[in-house]
């Protein structure tokens, strides 16, 4: 029976076979190899090394990966190579090799499996992966551009008041979060400071954020009192968007006299700002109000804080207080502590320090956006 004919089993095996010395010199090849590559036995046996059959690039791979593997572990598996045929064609193949010892020393037995279709499939996979990577990079760039458009491009300024802001998007910065802030002039000598957080993330949240920002700017021209402005935003959101909501804090900032400012604000479900006096007493200011975009007539009200020299008022989003480390929250205590400690710095430094502290607390990869705006009245001129 043919299956007991070992010569035939070798010569006409289902794969090409080569035996070489440890140095790679070809000692024997089977008929399947000769038919596949078009070489005559005496072209290769005793003439060529295995690596001579490879492309130059494949040769480097052979020397830097395959040969060391073979020396180190006595075998190598599933190495992809291109064998250069007698007529110069490249024949993609997968290689398995094993070192055998006999009385004459060590030989390497190599089996080559033609892998043309597989290689084409692999190339297709590589192309798909490159496309996926490119599209991911585009998505990230788009998200970052969009994110940047939702906060003021330059640090906000109000005459005679020190204004600082800091913002850190969630995660690795490849998603658009829902936090925003804005500072703009509403009437001669009066300014608006807005900070908010739209539910959700991504393109949907960005659209709501954009609507909230321009609606508030328009509403600030129609109504004067902060709670009235938030009411206009509430109506617009219910009318135009339906099933979404946000928390917003709107503050009207105006000079009270030469040295102090009056801040009147209304919170639509937004965390209350922290007031820190020049002496270092810190407390939450104002009364909570209702979230925007849910009720037709949400309970909202105004509170007023007077900022004397050296006092500060800090607005922030819940990315600060709800920053998480395991099961623990950053919390209000830490927030008050950092603001008190940092109070003698300028407003920008205070805002940046708070954001950095929250980021560090979470091990550098915050799960939510973090936005902070700090207003500080400069000290008395010396």
């Amino acid at each position: 029976m043919r299956e007991s004919d070992f010569e035939d089993l070798y010569e006409n095996a289902a794969c090409a076979q080569i035996s070489t010395t440890m140095k790679g010199l070809i000692l024997r090849v089977n008929r399947a190899f000769l038919e596949w590559t078009g070489y005559a036995a005496n072209d290769v046996v005793g003439e060529k090394r295995f690596s001579d059959l490879l492309t130059p690039g494949g040769r480097i791979y052979h020397e830097t990966h395959y040969a060391p593997l073979l020396s180190m572990q006595g075998f190598a598996r599933e190495i992809a190579v291109d064998v250069v045929a007698a007529d110069g064609r490249r024949l993609p193949a997968l290689v398995n090799a094993v070192v055998r010892e006999d009385s004459d020393g060590e030989v390497v037995r190599i089996a080559l499996f033609p892998a043309e279709d597989r290689r084409e499939y692999e190339r297709e996979l590589m192309r798909a992966r490159r496309r996926a990577e490119e599209s991911e990079a585009r998505g990230r760039a788009l998200a970052q551009t969009l994110q940047a458009s939702l906060i003021p491009p330059t640090p906000p300024q109000i005459p005679h008041l020190d204004v600082g802001a800091a913002f850190r998007p969630a995660g690795a910065g490849d998603e658009v979060g829902g936090d925003f802030y804005d500072v703009f002039e509403i009437a001669h000598g009066a300014w608006a400071v807005v900070i908010g957080d739209v539910r959700g993330k991504g393109a949907g949240a960005a659209a709501v954020t954009a609507l909230a920002r321009y609606t508030l700017r328009a509403a600030a021209m129609q109504a004067k009192e902060p709670h009235g402005i938030l009411d206009l935003l509430n109506q617009a959101m219910i009318r135009q968007l339906g099933d979404t909501f946000c928390t917003v804090l709107f503050a009207r900032v105006a000079p009270r006299d030469e040295r102090s400012f009056e801040v009147t604000f209304s919170s639509g479900g937004h965390p209350l700002p922290v007031y820190v006096s020049g002496a270092g007493d810190a407390a939450f200011a104002g009364r909570p109000g209702t979230i925007i975009g849910v009720l037709d007539d949400p309970p909202l009200h105004d509170d007023t804080v007077v900022l004397e020299p050296e006092a500060l008022l800090a607005f922030y989003t819940d990315g600060v207080t709800e920053g998480r480390r395991g099961g623990d929250l950053y919390g209000e205590g830490r927030l008050l502590g950092v603001l008190t400690e940092a109070r003698s710095s300028d407003a920008t430094e205070i805002a940046e320090r708070l954001v950095a502290d929250v980021v560090e607390y979470q091990g550098s990869l915050p799960r939510d956006d973090i936005a902070v705006v700090v207003l500080k009245v400069p000290g008395a001129p010396r």
């Binding site: 140095k23 690039g57 791979y61 180190m72």
Partner: protein, 263 residues
């Protein structure tokens, strides 16, 4: 930054021995010295390390910009010498790492006693009269070959350090592991390795140097080894009767003998 963790450093031999710092080349990790360092273990302090991105190194320390030239790797070598306070170092580098060693010596020779370059090539790409052995298109082909060979790579497989000396009978799950690394890093390192041209740096190697050359090396031919010998001022040349690019694996006895007679 802790270089011991970053570069997966291991020590052998007497603590007060003269340090031999072994650097692996492209494709493998520090295990490729396993047939060589035991021969020096009695008399020298053996320091083995993985380049960042290879073997058991801290992959998170991989900085594409830093490692976009061999200088980044040379900086790591100097940092290792400084942090471990190694003096009078015998630097043993294989292939690209022999150039990394040359760059480290060029930047600060004060910590080095000598340099052993195993299968060095200052430039793999042909340039006029200089025959590096390859064209640019060959290097592109290598990168494609890497892509194809790393398809089976899985980030779930942690690098494994191999156990006993001699040719080890490895457990199934260790198959090919010492040549595994993150495919993106391998690609980048390959690009940096095979497109670097450090010919102009050779005259600045101001320590005693040994060039170890295989008689039959398909990627760094004898003429390239001789070129290195001719351009490194205080260098000796040893031709090994060996095939391939890794005499430390294919001809460890000859490699060790040549190193010993140099030292």
């Amino acid at each position: 930054m802790n270089v011991i963790e970053r570069n997966n450093i291991s020590f052998l031999g007497p603590e007060d021995g003269q340090p031999m710092l072994f650097a692996h080349g492209f494709g493998c990790d520090k295990n490729m010295w396993r047939f060589v360092y035991p021969e020096f273990e009695d008399n020298y302090r053996i320091v083995l390390f993985d380049h960042v991105g290879a073997g058991g190194s801290d992959i998170s320390a991989y900085d594409r910009e830093k490692y976009s030239s061999l200088d980044g790797y040379a900086q790591d070598v100097l940092e290792i010498c400084e942090q471990l306070d190694l003096r009078d170092v015998i630097f043993v580098g294989h292939s690209v790492s022999s150039m990394i060693g040359a760059l480290a010596v060029k930047r600060d020779a004060s910590r080095f006693a000598s340099l052993i370059m195993v299968s060095p090539s200052p430039s793999f790409i042909n340039d006029g009269d200089y025959i590096g052995g390859f064209n640019r298109s060959d290097i592109e082909e290598l990168l494609e070959s890497l892509d194809s060979n790393y398809l089976g790579w899985s980030s779930a497989i942690a690098p494994v350090i191999m156990g006993n000396p001699g040719r080890p009978q490895l457990a199934e799950e260790l198959t090919n592991s010492f040549c595994r690394t993150d495919p993106d890093i391998a690609r980048h390192f390959a690009h940096v390795t095979f497109t670097s041209d450090n010919r102009a740096d050779l005259p600045h190697v101001k320590v005693r140097t040994l060039v170890l050359q295989c008689s039959d090396d398909a990627i760094a031919p004898v003429s390239v080894g001789r070129y290195v010998h001719e351009h490194v001022p205080d260098s000796e040349f040893a031709l090994l009767d060996a095939t391939g690019h890794c005499p430390n694996l294919s001809a460890p006895e000859q490699t060790v003998a040549a190193m010993k007679s140099f030292l």
